[in-house]
Amino acid sequence: MYVNQFLFLGAILFCIGVYGVLARRNGVMILMSVEIMLNAVNINLVAFGAMWHAGDIANMSGQVFALFVIAIAAAEVSVGLAIVLMIYRNRQSIDVSELDLMKG
């Protein structure tokens, strides 16, 4: 298998996630697109981890960083959904294009 197979899969998924963040205006959908982007980064980390592990059997950095990213993603989605719920409670809508309070 080529290293680039996995890197290109990650790049394609990342770009789909970027499209989702820019094209959606529902708060929950934006968070889902962010999850796709985080996963796309993770597959790069694990692929590089496997590549270095083949050369140096004690090198597990790729997997450890992937686990850290998974933990960060869990924290991010819990706080993000709490913010979305609070916005819904205050405005009865989670349309992010209506959140223009700080617009100049």
Binding site: M1, A58, Q63, L67
Partner: protein, 169 residues
């Protein structure tokens, strides 16, 4: 050995096609609950790719944390914001913004693809050794001990922050 490689390649491309299709459905479909279920397809495909890379512990963690916890959290979020009943209008930005987003996505893919091809052309993995869970834990609890502590505190902070944000008083 060659037969194994061919099988791995076929598995990779089948799962990758499913994942890309699922991801496109996540960002285009008009029903929030369906989008969350397509997200499950993407996440479980990712776990399968980790298995192909012989990263067993990350694959199991992916299933437990993402499919077990985060997707359920998304479904709760969808239901609590009353957006999951049938077809929902107003999920997407207007058409000009979507076209701009598509152009940005394709342009970014072009740049990334050029950089990746320039950097790793047709480098092979070589023999992928199984990366055992014991090795992962050895690495976390020696080299990465301080980042591990920081992550623990961060999870606690996120927990408290989420509770404080949604309290009603």
């Amino acid at each position: 050995m060659l037969a194994l490689l061919v099988a791995q390649n076929i598995a990779f491309y089948v799962i990758a096609a499913l994942m890309v299709f699922g991801a496109i459905r996540v960002v285009t479909c008009t029903n929030l609950v369906h989008a969350a279920l397509w997200l499950v397809l993407v996440l479980s495909g990712m776990a399968a790719q980790y298995i192909l890379l012989a990263a067993e512990f990350v694959a199991v963690t992916q299933v437990l944390v993402y499919i077990g916890a985060i997707v359920v959290l998304f479904l709760f979020g969808i239901m609590l914001t009353r957006a999951g009943t049938g077809l929902d209008g107003g999920l997407d930005n207007p058409r000009p913004a979507k076209i701009t987003a598509g152009v940005i996505g394709v342009g970014l893919l072009g740049v990334l693809g050029y950089a990746l091809w320039d950097g790793w052309k047709d480098q092979e993995f070589g023999p992928i050794a199984v990366q055992r869970t014991a090795q992962v834990s050895d690495s976390i609890f020696s080299t990465f001990l301080i980042p591990f502590w920081v992550i623990s505190v961060l999870l606690l902070v996120a927990l408290i922050g989420a509770i404080v944000l949604v309290r009603r008083d």
